[in-house]
């Protein structure tokens, strides 16, 4: 049996704003999804640590980090119309980022086959110099930067319904990290168009696959099979990180894709097959605001990794998006089929 490393749960109960959907119970729901699998000795609950200032500064500006720490310690408040901080948020952000670093350390040391970082606040909208979209520190990027600095080639697959503009910006011109995103088209945060493919030193290492509202699980699976699989073959990652948001679920109140929890089992099994060698796959909780959907989808994801069929909702199909996948293939795959990376 494979072993699942669980980094968390870090629900950050005092990083909270009344009525805000990015709330501690999201993490409680996600860890309940892991608990539902009853993995017993196949589950390793990891001791983690706070990320250091230097580790965060690998992706964020020093001035932003100092300002964020001071802002939190002065009582917090709104950082943009969507994003808040409380007095504990600085430590919560360091805890969430540190959990990712600890998870890949544990994987590198052979302690497990897959890792799931069950923490908040989420990270993929956080930019080098500012908080955005509920995110303070870019957790997956902190881990990717640490791996890249150690000579690894990292692929980040972001299946959150929103485009991870922060992660894209951080690795835009860095050919050691390939950022791949499926997301709802013409939607927050307004980035992630097909023609955003990376900077001059990293052309083709940003891969955006915008999908129309209503897209179902079969469309997401096609995107992974027909667009992402050739990119994986071309890029040759040594590590695979997943920005696992669950707001593409049909019940999520913040967006309009139409996936079921069962679809996430299928997506996870496709991603598992991309992994270059055992123990090089870590999932990071991003969005997902409907608690039952988060719980069932996390169970489906982790269940698929572990080879136990836990998907209770059937997979979905028949939604729009086949043409969007073809367009993405035309941009990201076909022109490069004969190129060497």
């Amino acid at each position: 049996m494979p072993k699942l490393i669980v980094a968390g749960p870090f629900a950050a109960p005092d990083h909270v704003l009344a009525g805000h959907p990015e709330r501690p119970s999201r993490v409680t729901a996600a860890i309940a999804g892991v608990d539902d699998l009853m993995l017993d000795t196949d589950r390793i609950d990891l001791e983690t640590r706070l990320a250091t200032f230097e580790e965060l500064a690998a992706v964020h500006d020093d001035a932003y980090l100092r300002e964020l720490e001071a802002f939190c310690k002065a009582g917090g408040g709104k950082l943009d119309p969507d994003t808040y901080a409380s007095p504990v948020s600085w430590d919560a952000a360091r805890e969430a980022a540190g959990a990712g670093l600890a998870a890949v350390d544990a994987l590198a040391n052979g302690r497990g086959d897959f890792a799931f970082v069950v923490a908040r606040p989420p990270g993929h909208h956080a930019l080098p110099d500012r908080a955005m979209g509920f995110c303070l520190v870019n957790n997956v990027a902190v881990t990717a930067a640490a791996l890249a600095a150690a000579g690894e080639r990292v692929m980040i697959i972001d299946w959150d319904v929103h485009h991870g503009n922060g992660t894209q910006a951080l690795f835009w011109d860095d050919d050691r990290v390939c950022y791949v995103s499926t997301h709802q088209d013409h939607f927050y945060p307004g980035t992630g168009a097909l023609d955003e493919t990376g900077g001059p030193n990293a052309r083709g290492s940003t891969v955006n696959i915008p999908l129309p509202a209503g897209a179902t699980g079969d469309v997401m699976a096609r995107a992974l099979d027909e667009v992402v699989a050739p990119v994986v073959a071309r890029f040759g990652p040594t590590w695979m990180l997943v920005s696992a948001g669950y707001d593409a679920h049909r019940d999520d109140p913040l967006a309009d894709l139409a996936l079921s929890s069962g679809d996430f089992a299928h997506l996870a099994s496709i991603v598992r097959a991309f992994v270059p060698s055992p123990g090089r796959l870590a999932f990071f909780l991003e969005g997902g605001y409907e608690l039952d959907a988060v719980r069932a989808s996390v169970a489906a994801t982790a269940g698929a990794l572990m080879g136990s069929d836990h998907a209770v909702q059937p997979a979905t199909n028949g939604g729009p998006g086949a043409e969007a996948v073809s367009r993405a293939r035309a941009v990201h795959v076909e022109p490069r089929e004969h190129d060497l990376w």
């Binding site: 709104k78 950082l79 503009n165």
Partner: protein
């Protein structure tokens, strides 16, 4: 000198002062005004994917601009955060001036200088006016 003004709008009292200020300047110098509202992550909860439910509200928030000739007024809903949305509007419209309220449009409930205003002050490619709250 000032041909195109971008004004950041969020429906707050601070932003309505910014709209008034932008209108008065535009009236005097014959400039065009582009009002920008950033459609945030939270706004989806109350509405539809295209943000069309926000259009009437944006018109309401920018009512003073109706006193200008229609071809000198544009209202935009842009997905994203205010700093990014205003920055994009500035480069797309070739704006000469950005006008925002004191707390910017990003910190309605905050207690310090709005993060939007502060970030725009650092990053804006053109002149920036931050309209004070009092007086």
């Amino acid at each position: 000198m000032v041909k195109t003004i971008v004004v950041g709008v969020d429906g707050s009292l601070d932003s309505s002062r910014a709209v008034e200020w932008a209108y008065e300047l535009a009236e005097q110098v014959g400039a065009r005004v582009v009002a920008v509202h950033a459609v945030g992550l939270l706004e989806h909860e109350i509405g539809d994917p295209g943000g069309d439910h926000l259009r009437p509200r944006l018109s309401e928030w920018t009512a003073p601009l109706d006193q200008l000739p229609p071809d000198r007024v544009e209202r935009r809903l842009v997905a994203g955060d205010p700093v990014g949305a205003i920055g994009a509007a500035v480069s797309e419209c070739g704006a000469d001036l950005v006008v925002v309220g004191t707390r910017g449009i990003g910190n309605r409930h905050g207690e310090r200088l709005g993060s939007t205003s502060a970030h725009l002050a650092e990053q804006c490619a053109c002149a920036l006016v931050i309209v004070p709250r009092a007086g």
